[in-house]
């Protein structure tokens, strides 16, 4: 925990391994997205020359596929606790989480919502995580089948394509929302800091992750924030 000059207090949120993993994964995702886009729809065929032709696009896609799979492995090795914490909280759902979704649309479209207190991961993040984990899992598994069809039965191979396709569509939707909330939506912008520097403004923590904030205060890790919540 450190104090910034203008007295804005922050609290540690993510370890550097989580951050590395997140960005590596994010980068790989977009790279995968771009290298697959012309194959997804010939509307994007103009991308092939940029990618160096279909063969290169395919090669890059496979390269980035490895990059996409690597992050959880890295975290597993270097920061197991964070990984388990993330997975565990993502799949632990409580009543408050549901309330979050009732209030969220208003917040999303710029209104002021009264959102119930959220944990380390708020319900939105949890949903994002769950969808991300599921989609990534499907993408990876179906991708492996498509990459190495010789080891699978034709039924599995045939189904790998729609699965990859569906998971892709879903993950793009998830990612789009995720990005918007972290970049485009004014109320969540602060969270970007968490994924860059690893810490967040305490005010932000209080507003968006009330439960976590309370826990931190209770543990004495931070002092109570007196400023007005957003």
């Amino acid at each position: 925990m450190k104090q910034t000059k203008n007295n804005t207090r922050t609290v540690k949120r993510f370890s550097k391994w989580v951050i590395y993993a997140h960005w590596m994964n994010a980068f790989a995702f977009f790279a995968l997205y771009l290298t697959a886009l012309p194959l997804y729809s010939d509307f994007f065929n103009w991308l092939y020359p940029l990618l160096g032709g279909p063969e290169m696009a395919r090669l890059l896609h496979r390269f980035f596929a490895v990059m996409f799979i690597l992050p959880p492995v890295l975290v597993l090795i270097f920061d197991r606790a964070s990984l388990f914490h993330w997975v565990k909280s993502s799949f632990t759902w409580k009543k408050e989480d549901l309330k979050f979704f009732i209030a969220f649309p208003k917040e999303f479209f710029g209104g002021k919502a009264n959102i119930s207190k959220q944990g380390f991961f708020n319900a939105g993040e949890k949903l994002n995580s769950v969808l991300t984990i599921v989609c990534a899992g499907l993408l990876v598994l179906s991708g492996i089948v498509m990459w190495f069809p010789q080891y699978f039965t034709s039924g599995i191979i045939l189904w790998a394509y729609p699965v990859h396709n569906i998971a892709f569509g879903l993950s793009v939707a998830v990612v789009a929302g995720h990005i918007f909330l972290s970049l485009g939506h004014p109320n969540s912008k602060a969270s970007m800091r968490g994924m860059i520097k690893g810490d967040v403004n305490i005010t932000y923590a209080k507003d968006h992750h009330g439960q976590w904030y309370d826990e931190l205060v209770e543990k004495g890790e931070i002092k109570e924030d007196k400023s007005e919540g957003a």
Binding site: T4, L39, V172, N201
Partner: protein, 276 residues
């Protein structure tokens, strides 16, 4: 007008001229395969060998013996799975009914090779207009250039036994029916194979035995997975993409409109103050 190639296997002597004529016309490379223990030269059709003559020793249920021959090549399905799954629109059905792959559009993704119910499309080397050697999905085109110009496919043209004939589908169907009557005595299990599951094919057979004897699927279909994928998942995926995009855009706009004061300063300030 729909055209079709009728393969009457009962007339075939397995001379395999169709295989050579195909390579000759289409300038395909040769591909010697390992010894398979029979006269059959290639295990199946692939991108280098667009038609393969199947030769099977078969003991009939009545204890008789038949050496069964079948010219196998792309079936040119009316409802072509390859065409359905091709992400590049490289595969299309022409006005004559034959299914062709545009080699310049194909990117070699092999979706078609995985989805063909008859396992005839395969990747093979192709030299592009730029002289680059790449892997492209290749298969029998029914000699598209020839038939568009009014010539017969090379295999039908070369066949001395009229085991391969090409013409209007209805006429070929009638011919097949007539032939079926003629061969019933010799081949009691003879039947026409023009599978309804893919809405009929433009290469169809008069078989001497059940399709299974020739390793042909009894009821080939466009794979359900391909239907799910192309008819549901992909449109929905695209819709989802659209909806998400719309939502994000709307969110962005509405925020600009209603949430001008917002909390933007928090993050912004933080970022700036970080640099010290």
């Amino acid at each position: 007008m729909s055209y079709a190639k009728l393969v009457d296997v009962t007339k075939c002597t397995a001379c395999r001229a169709c295989m050579v004529a195909c390579k000759n016309w289409n300038d395909l490379p040769s591909d010697s395969q390992a010894y398979g223990g029979t006269y059959q030269s290639h295990t199946k059709c692939d991108g280098k060998t667009w038609n393969v003559l199947q030769m099977k020793e078969y003991e009939t249920s009545s204890g008789g013996f038949e050496w069964l021959f079948r010219h196998q090549a792309c079936m040119h399905c009316e409802e072509a799975a390859c065409e359905k799954v091709c992400p590049e629109s490289a595969i299309s059905t022409t006005s004559l009914g034959n299914v062709v792959i545009d080699q310049e559009k194909c990117v070699g993704c092999s979706y078609c090779t995985q989805n063909c119910p008859f396992d005839v499309v395969e990747l093979a080397e192709y030299v592009t207009e730029d002289g680059e050697t790449v892997e492209r999905a290749q298969k029998c085109t029914m000699c598209d250039g020839r038939i568009q110009a009014g010539l017969q496919p090379a295999c039908a043209d070369i066949c001395g036994m009229d085991a391969i004939v090409f013409g209007k589908k209805e006429e070929m169907k009638k011919l097949a029916e007539a032939r079926l009557n003629e061969v019933k005595d010799r081949y009691p299990n003879a039947q026409i194979y023009d599978p309804a599951g893919v809405d009929g094919t433009h290469t169809f057979y008069l078989l001497a035995e059940d399709p299974a004897v020739y390793d042909l699927p009894e009821n080939p279909k466009v794979p359900v997975s391909a239907v799910v994928w192309k008819d549901y998942a992909q449109p929905m995926g695209k819709a989802l993409l659209g909806v998400t995009t719309m939502a994000v855009m709307t969110g962005y706009i509405t925020n600009k409109l209603f949430n001008k004061e917002g909390h933007a300063e928090e993050g912004g300030q933080t970022d700036e103050t970080d640099k010290e």
